[in-house]
């Protein structure tokens, strides 16, 4: 329940055209990116003919980002590691609120740059795990872009099983190692 509320609050905090593009796209597919581009272009065209109206709408949006929302968003931005199931690169539903916050942050701060580091657990072969780590990082990149981040803000690198977060050989360690970490290069 709380997550849904946050999700909506965050959505409101950003420009109207992006909200309409992303809010309905929490389950991503290949088509999402193209749809978003089309929406953006329409919004721009509309902007050319009715400059004043669009500006006032976006100003209202900014003002709704109250202190409470900013704090909630900050808390979500502190979550920078996202976990995956074995041999899977599907974003877990519990990761989406924080990822949406990162996407919104990137959308609002065009100068911000992130590296998405993809990782796998040690089971299986190093090269396949390198590919799997990349798949995971790319899944996160798609999500961030569909939710407002720009391509040029995101770099992806996979370390496969080479840089584990936990060095044990148990289910617990493996679960901690199947991850994507968002690392901000500049804020």
């Amino acid at each position: 329940m709380q997550k849904t509320a946050l999700y909506k609050a965050l959505g409101l905090a950003f420009s109207a055209m992006l909200v309409t593009a992303c809010a309905s796209n929490s389950d991503l597919d290949e088509g999402a990116g193209a749809a978003m581009t089309a929406t953006e272009q329409q919004a721009n065209e509309a902007g050319d003919s009715a400059t004043a109206g669009v500006e006032s709408a976006s100003l209202q949006g900014e003002s709704l980002a109250s202190d409470a929302n900013t704090a909630a968003q900050k808390a979500l931005l502190d979550i920078t590691t996202f976990y995956f199931a074995f041999d899977q690169s599907t974003i877990k539903s519990e990761s989406k609120a924080a990822l949406t916050a990162h996407a919104s942050y990137l959308a609002a701060n065009k100068g911000a740059r992130v590296v998405l580091e993809g990782h796998a657990d040690e089971r299986g072969t190093p090269e396949y795990n390198l590919a799997l780590g990349e798949r995971r990082a790319i899944a996160v990149r798609r999500f961030l872009m569909a939710n407002g981040a720009a391509d040029g803000q995101i770099k992806v690198v996979s370390y496969g099983e080479e840089r584990p977060a936990a060095t044990g050989h148990t289910d617990d360690s493996w679960a901690k190692n199947r991850r994507v970490e968002i690392k901000y290069q500049s804020r």
């Binding site: 041999d87 299986g124 190093p126 396949y128 080479e162």
Partner: protein
């Protein structure tokens, strides 16, 4: 001059990075041939820096084809054929004995040795080999290869080398090491604070290709072994990995991905032209050339989990070759093309399996190691070296392609990973 300085630096670096691998044979073959390597005569004033007969003993014993006799159990220790008392060796149930003598001159060492058939009471081989003072281990391995080839008909691989990666627990140091196939004489050839993986030998044994993250993304480098000279060969935007040289050394298969879609590519090493061979949206990785220089085995997730497929590099046609188990990856071929070995996973267990190419029959080769990965086949097709997890560490272990012989190469500290066995070097 510069090369010499680099080399001496490498030697210095290697001193503090030694993982010190030591062979422990854990399982031998029932049908192994009993052979005694009698300590060779040495009349020099000082002890030799290497124990030649012990190295030969260890080589032959670890091959699984021979069962060697402890020197303490020998009833006599002849160094010439005429000194052999046959009843001593028949009593110990020995088929063959090796005797020999080491001499030195200003040029280095000479070793003269004889292989004697105990049952027929005849000298089978009489041979002499010479080397420089620094080549005592090479001389020993040469003798092992010579005896192995004459008695089994198979090329020996005791003079071959391997490269492998060692890391610390924190994964902040990565070393690419070069060593004899028995783990001795380890040398550090490249070190980095970023991951190094997938070392692969060129067919002429003169260079290795590997993946390095030193520039913040995975790129493929070549490194010439004699000079240490490095060349960045493949660094397209995104991820570049899994290099594999074609059998004639003119092409390099590799994996490239720039949008989460790893595919198999081939670079012509003369023209540096690149061709993309797969376009599937699944993961395609771990290419390995087959002996015909046309087909490539690779791992793909196109059917869900990873399985091994065979790709025709001329027509692009793809055929699945593994069907048993949910995880089959990283195929390597024996030189005769009859078998492939790969990582076979079922649930949480990952072991090395071999599969006959003609019948598709699968055999799991390893059972007593865990999380087995990175198999690499000896150039004579006899053994597979691989990385495994043991007591919270990563070690190298080896198993014969028929599963009968096993040995381990544990290191004193650190994790040892990603072994690659060299071709036969001349």
């Amino acid at each position: 001059m510069v090369n010499r300085i680099i080399l001496s630096l490498l030697v210095l670096l290697s001193l503090n990075a030694q993982a010190e691998l030591v062979i422990e044979v854990t399982q031998g073959r029932q049908s192994a041939i009993p052979i005694s390597v009698v300590p060779f005569e040495w009349t020099g004033a000082t002890n030799l820096p290497e124990n030649i007969s012990a190295i030969i003993n260890n080589d032959l014993g670890s091959s699984g084809y021979f069962r060697t006799l402890d020197t303490q159990l020998m009833l006599s220790k002849p160094v010439r054929p005429e000194e052999v008392v046959y009843t001593d060796w028949r009593r110990m149930k020995q088929d063959f004995i090796v005797v020999g003598r080491i001499s030195a001159d200003e040029a280095g060492y000479a070793i003269e040795f004889h292989v004697i058939d105990v049952h027929q009471q005849i000298e089978l081989l009489h041979h002499r080999v010479k080397g420089r003072a620094t080549q005592l281990r090479d001389l020993a391995h040469y003798i092992s290869d010579f005896i192995f080839k004459r008695l089994t008909g198979i090329d020996g691989v005791f003079s071959t080398k391997m490269v492998y990666v060692t890391t610390n627990k924190e994964r902040t140091r990565f070393n690419l090491n070069f060593a004899d196939a028995d783990g001795a004489r380890e040398q550090l050839i490249f070190k980095s604070s970023h991951p190094i993986l997938s070392p692969a030998w060129s067919p002429d044994g003169k260079k290795v290709a590997y993946v390095s993250f030193e520039n913040g993304q995975s790129e493929i480098f070549f490194q010439e072994l004699s000079t240490g000279r490095r060349e960045k060969v493949i660094s397209f935007d995104g991820s570049n990995s899994a290099p594999s040289f074609s059998p004639d050394g003119t092409r390099l298969a590799f994996v490239h991905s720039n949008a989460g879609n790893p595919d198999i590519y081939v670079m012509n090493l003369n023209t540096r032209k690149v061709e993309r061979l797969t376009t599937h949206y699944g993961i395609d990785t771990e290419p390995q050339w087959m002996a015909d220089g046309r087909h490539i085995l690779f791992t793909s997730s196109r059917a869900g989990g990873p399985q091994i497929y065979k790709l025709d590099s001329e027509t692009g046609s793809v055929k699945r070759v593994t069907f048993e188990g949910s995880y089959n990856a990283r195929a390597r071929m024996t030189a005769d093309g009859r078998k492939m070995v790969y990582v076979h996973g079922n649930g949480d267990s990952f072991h090395i399996a071999s599969q006959e190419m003609s019948s598709g029959r699968v055999r799991i080769l390893t059972r007593d190691t865990n999380l087995d990965e990175s198999p690499s086949v000896a150039p004579n097709g006899s053994m597979v070296i691989y990385a495994a997890t043991e007591n919270d560490r990563s070690i190298l272990a080896a198993v014969s392609v028929d599963g009968e012989v096993k040995f381990r190469l544990p290191s004193r500290y650190g994790d040892v990973r990603e072994p690659a066995w060299s071709p036969i070097l001349n």
